[in-house]
Structures are given as C-alpha cells and as structure tokens.
C-alpha cells in the first residue's frame, strides 16, 4: 500500500485546492467587478467603469458601487450612472450558467452625467440625422414661378386629377341612365290612356276585362320607367357624393398651395420646414429617449448579450443545450426597484420579470414609474411592458409628464444661428407600440412659459432668432418609428408656419411680383378645370331635377285605380239584374 499511495501528495492536493479557494475568496470582488464591466461593455458597446464591488455569501448578494456607462454618442458623458446596485443572486442556478436575481435595487440612477475622462466606444452609434454646420446659409436667389410649380407637389394638381378621374368614373353611368329615361311624350301618352280607361263607361263584362288588361299593361310600363328613373337618380346621387367635395377642394386648393409655396420666394424653404427638428429636435430626442429607456436601450442590450454569448461559444467546439427541467431562463431579474435621479429629484420605478426569454416564464417584462408633485415637476407617470418573441420584441408603453421644469441649455449652436433655452416647462404624453422589433408611436410635447435667447447671422437666421425669442409656448408633435436598435424620431410644430409668414412680411418688389404671379398661375390652373367641370356638374343636377319631376308624375299615375270604374259598372249590372228578377214587386 505504501508503494502505491503518496500521503504528502494528498496534502499537496488539498493545499492546492485550498489555495485556489483562498485566491477566489480574496479576488472575488475584483472578478465580480471585472465580469460586470465586461458583460455591460459587450451589451452597450462602450466603456463601463465600476468603482468597486462587494459580496456576501448567505444569502448570496453582490453590490456594485458607482457604475458609469459611457454614452457611445457622447463619450465625454455617461449614458447612465448608478450610485449603488444591490442584487440578491440565486447560487444553484449559477451552476447551470443561469443568472437568477431575486431582487435588485438600483439607487440614484442618473442620465447624461459628465465623465472625468472620455470613455472608449466599441460600437459606434448611428450617425446624427442632421448636421448643424451646413445649415442656415445666406438666402438663395428667389426661384422662378415655373421652378416652384414644377418641383412642388401641388394640391391643385392632385385634386384636379382626382376630380377628373371621378368625373370619368361617373360620366358613363349618368349619361346612360339619362338616355334610358322615359320621354315626356310617352309619359303624357300614359296619362291620357289612364284617364280614358278610368272615365270610360263599360257596358259588358268583356269590356271591363279588356280595360283591366290594358290598365295592367300601362302600370307595368310605368313601373319599368320608375325603375329607370330611380337608377338614374342613384347614379347622380353617387356622383354628387364623390364630386361635390372634390369640387370644393379644388376651389380651396390654389389658396392652400399659395400659402404653402409663397415662403419659397421668401427664404430657404427646406430649412424653414425643419426648424422645429433642428432647434428642438436634439433636446426632444433626449427627453423621448429617457422615457423610452426600457424599450430603446434595455431590451436591445439584453438581446445583444444573448447573441454575443452564442458567438463566443462556437470557437472551440460548441455547447449543446438540452431541455431544462427547471424551466428557468438564462437571465431573470424577478423584481427590481430602480430610483432614477433627475436634477436632484427621485423618480421611483418598479420592474418585474426582466429577461430575454419571456416564453419560458410566460410573462412579459413589466415596469411602472410614478412620482408626485415636486419642485421639478407636477407628476410623472410611465407604464409599459415588452417581451421577446420569435420575430423580435413586442410591447407597448405610455407616458405622461406634467410641467417638468426644463434646465437651461443650448438648443442649437451653428455658425449661423445660436439659441439657448433660459427657462420653460414641458408637458408630454404619448404612447409607443413595439411589434417584431419595429417601433411605432406618437407623442405630444407642450412647451410653455418659454424664454429663449437666439441670435442669427443672416436674414433667414435673424427671422428665425426673432421668432424664437418671441416664442412663449410651442406644441411639438413627435413620431417615433424604425427598428428598436436604431429608432428614428420626427418632430413637427406650427413654428415652421410662423417662420414662413414672418419671412413673407418683408419682401422685395421682385419677390412680391413672383408671389402674385404664383397666385395667378395657381388660380388659372384650377379655374380652367373648374369651368368645364362645373358646367357638366350643373347639367347633371338639372337632369336629376327633371327626373325627380317625372318620378312624381309616374308615382301619381301608379296611384290611379280602375276599381272605382269597374265597381260602378258592377253596381249597374246588379241593379239591372234585380229589376229583371223582382220587377213585378215594384
């Protein structure tokens, strides 16, 4: 036995294992910190820093302190900074490579905080939809009326084409219907025949029978004519329903086109139409991203994590996954409390069932955030859910923020226009739906009690600056669309119209002349079509009136009854018979 066993070897083995355990225990906090940093970095594609980590074994809890996640779009700032994160993790599922977190507490989560040094970016975010540098150049020379008419989609042309098409659709039916209508003479003839039949004195039953047959024949012919008139009236009625609104649209269209196009002669039409997006877009996008954090950031990050894990496992051999008896997802936070701090105010949010394998737990990830009145806002309410299906994420979210005090800051800083927000209040509400990774939704943002400072460098930007400076309130409509990984936001408001009318108040004689020419050309375009179509339409209406008269006449004729005349003759015959039978008694 002594020849086979080496006792000091056993001691060495346990010493070796003990040493490993000691090293694990000593460096566990560091490994937790490094693993969390690496996992988060692969999920968000930018540098993540965690100041330190701590753990306890029973129950197994980890705590991470001062987590800073770099904003890939602005590496000098953090997308998210968290003061402290505590998680109670189930140990046994970790053996199955499953991270099941019973409870998670996130304290003082802040957005957009400044970093001490720029963070590294591993995956570049999508490029900005527009650059402010090339904007608001000097006003170009006013284009010609022909150019404006040629390149602008005109409402006048569109409505005219639609009207022409409607006329062509109804023309055949109305004309054929009119051609099939009974002639005046025919109706007069029927009238005379009916009068003769009702006023005639019938002497024999054969006469009565013959009159009755004739009467029925006329009535049948009248019924057929009545049907033809009804069909015609129906065709005209359909045409009226279709054409009448188009005619009034065509009468209105030149004015609408004129109001829309006149700014083309006053300034850079494209730039004006995007002022809302350019001046308020970046801030509005930032606010919208805050409320969409769950669907816009968390969900894709969870999906990335899942995909990355699969990719790494394929390098040397592969991991084959068998069915899991425990029905547990790979990652599952059962309950989380996250406190978001915005400008010194706390907004508490509660989350349930955060995972990327919703089919296993049979529930979507749900979240709510509510905060009552504070010096910063009147109320904040947010509610939503999402779940990962076969084709991508599905879910929905609603939000309502009342009177949020906006912080001072730059709205736009381009070579030609500089604008800053001094103060303002934001009330926003909206909803967004998520279907197979595609976002669709709308939001409204009411900016009130606005104080904006703006300075322009040329005629166009001076007008914009002056309009912005005088702005007290503004309603911005936002449209959210696109893929969950690269959502797109569109913003619009009546600011663009305000700017256009401000620009047209001060025009040169040449510009005024061109605007007058535009008005004349648009009216000409509409009137040339309106003239012929109006006449044709009026003729149809006259035909309808005549048909209505004929219909009344036919209905009156159909009310005529032969029964009275027949009854009269019947009574006469009865009296005659009684005379013959009882003539002696008289």
């Amino acid at each position: 036995m002594k020849n086979v066993i080496r006792w000091w070897g056993l001691t060495a083995f346990f010493g070796f294992v003990g040493l490993i355990a000691l090293i694990v225990w000593a460096f566990l906090d560091t490994w937790i910190r490094l693993a969390a940093e690496s996992g988060l970095e692969s999920a968000v594609g930018a540098e993540v820093n965690i100041e330190r980590a701590a753990h306890q074994f029973s129950p197994f809890k980890i705590a991470l302190f001062d987590i800073q996640i770099t904003d890939a779009a602005r590496p000098n700032r953090n997308k998210v900074q968290i003061e402290q994160l505590d998680a109670e993790v189930q140990l046994s599922p970790l053996l199955m490579k499953k991270v099941i977190i019973e409870s998670l507490n996130v304290n003082r989560l802040r957005f957009g905080t400044e970093r001490s040094s720029a963070g590294e970016v591993f995956r570049s975010p999508g490029s900005s939809p527009f650059s402010t540098e090339a904007l608001f150049g000097d006003l170009p020379e006013a284009p010609s009326v022909d150019d404006v008419l040629a390149r602008s989609p005109l409402e006048t042309t569109r409505v005219a084409e639609s009207l022409e098409s409607a006329f062509q659709d109804h023309k055949t039916q109305v004309k054929q219907g009119y051609a099939a209508l009974p002639k005046k003479d025919t109706l007069e003839e029927y009238k005379a025949q009916l009068k003769a039949l009702t006023e005639k004195e019938y002497k024999t039953p054969a006469d009565i029978l013959s009159a009755k047959e004739e009467f029925e024949r006329i009535k049948s012919a009248l019924q057929e004519d009545k049907a033809r008139i009804s069909a015609f009236k129906n065709a005209v009625s359909n045409a009226k329903q279709d054409i009448a609104p188009k005619l009034s649209q065509l009468k209105q269209a030149p004015e609408n086109d004129f109001n829309r196009l006149k700014s083309a002669f006053a300034g850079d039409h494209a730039a004006i139409s995007e002022v809302t997006e350019m001046v308020f877009g970046p801030k509005a996008k930032q606010w919208t991203e805050y409320v969409l954090l769950a669907t816009d950031t968390l969900a894709p990050a969870m999906n990335n994590q899942h995909e990355d894990a699969q990719q790494q496992q394929r390098e040397t051999g592969r991991w084959i996954i068998f069915e899991d008896d425990g029905s547990m997802p790979d990652f599952w936070i059962k309950h989380a409390n996250i406190t978001v701090q915005y400008q010194g105010q706390n907004i508490a949010s509660e989350w349930f069932d955060i995972t990327q394998q919703h089919d296993i737990i049979g529930k979507p990830t749900r979240y709510t955030a509510d905060a009552g009145r504070s010096p910063l806002f009147n109320a904040v309410s947010l509610k939503g859910e999402f779940a990962l299906g076969d084709a991508g994420f599905n879910g929905q979210q609603q939000w309502q923020v009342d009177e949020l005090a906006l912080p001072q800051g730059t709205l736009i800083n381009s070579a030609k226009l500089v604008s800053s927000l001094l103060e303002g209040k934001l009330t926003t509400s909206g909803s967004v739906r998520l279907k197979d990774n595609q976002l669709s939704g709308n939001g409204k943002a009411n900016l009130s009690q606005l104080a904006i400072q703006a300075k322009g460098e040329n005629k166009l930007t001076n007008v914009i600056a002056s309009t912005l400076s005088g702005l007290n309130s503004l309603q911005i409509d936002s449209k959210i669309s696109g893929n969950i990984h690269s959502p797109s936001f569109q913003f619009s408001s009546n600011l663009d119209k305000q700017l256009a009318s401000a620009l047209v108040t001060n025009l040169s004689p040449e510009q005024t002349q061109k605007i007058e020419e535009l008005k004349r050309r648009l009216n000409q375009k509409a009137n040339s079509l309106l003239g012929t179509k109006d006449d044709e339409y009026l003729q149809w209406l006259q035909w309808e009136e005549l048909a209505t008269g004929d219909l009344t006449s036919i209905e009156n004729m159909l009310k005529t009854k032969l029964d009275d005349a027949i009854q009269k003759e019947k009574n006469k015959l009865k009296d005659k018979l009684l005379d013959k039978l009882f003539g002696d008694n008289e």
Binding site: I5, F13, D324
Partner: protein
C-alpha cells in the same frame, strides 16, 4: 529540450515502468482535454495521491497538449456525434439537469469528445508505455551505455560535478 532530457533521466531512474506508464496516461488526459474542467481536478488528485512519476506526468501533459491541437477537430466530431445521438438523449438530458453534470461541462463537444477519446486510449497508453519503458531499459539503455561518446562524457569532470549536484 529540458523536459526531454528530464524524461530520459526518468527512463534511466529507479521508477518502476508502471509508475511511468500511469503517469504518461494521466498526463495524456490533462493534455488532451480542456484544462479547466472538473475531471482534471480528479486527474491531478490521482497524480499527486498515487505514487506515479510526477515528471513523467508533466512531460506527458505538455506533449499531449501539442498533440491535441492536431486532433481537436476529430475529438469535437466525436463529442458532437455522442451528444446529438438520439439514443443517448435521455442520458444527457438527465445529466444536464444535475449539478454534477453541469459542473462537468459535459455538454461541450470538445470536452466530452476529448475525455471519451482519452478514456479509450488510457489502458492502451498505460500498457504500451509500460512495454516501451521495459524494452527501452532492456535494449536501448544498455546500448547507449556502451557508446564511446557516453563513456567519454561520463568520464569528464563536469559530469562528475553534475552527478554530485544532482545527488
């Protein structure tokens, strides 16, 4: 080269052929399979607890690690075939849902494939190694000793000093 010299020294040492053969076979398991696996802890325990030749085990581990680079695709294919065999599905399924099964990381194609290949080769390597060691000692070692160059080296002062230091 250092390890090769060490290995020849083992062959010339007093260790029994079985001690060397088992050391080679155990080192082979360490070398062929991915290192950070639960079964390798058992292999290390065997190497330390049983009186096998430690140097031979270390040399074998290094040599089979190099060999493994060549045979990884084959071993992955073996693991793939076993793990995806319908007849074995229930076995893997129950193993997958046990803690020991998960800790063993058997569901990795290279891990299972290389372990199975190593286990199949284990008795063959043990017996072959034992026979080769015996044959070496009987024939090659005696022949080497008779070589003039060896006799010359053994007669040098440097070799004597080396022998003293080694002892």
């Amino acid at each position: 080269m250092y390890w090769l010299a060490k290995f020849f020294k083992i062959l010339h040492s007093a260790s029994s052929p079985w001690q060397i053969a088992f050391a080679i076979a155990l080192g082979m398991i360490l070398g062929l399979t991915p290192l950070l696996r639960l079964h390798n802890l058992v292999v290390v325990l065997c190497i330390l607890f049983f009186r096998v030749n430690l140097t031979a085990a270390l040399v074998s581990w290094g040599a089979f690690t190099l060999i493994a680079y060549l045979f990884d695709p084959l071993m992955i294919a073996v693991g793939e075939a076993l793990l995806t065999a319908p007849s074995l599905h229930s076995v893997w399924q129950s193993a997958y849902n046990s803690s020991i099964g998960v800790l063993s990381q058997f569901n990795h194609t290279l891990t299972l494939g290389s372990l199975v290949v190593a286990m199949v080769l284990f008795p063959i390597v043990v017996i072959t190694s034992k026979i080769l060691v015996v044959k070496y000692r009987e024939r090659v070692m005696e022949w080497i000793k008779t070589l003039k160059i060896v006799e010359f080296i053994k007669g040098t002062r440097i070799y004597s000093l080396y022998e003293k230091m080694e002892s």
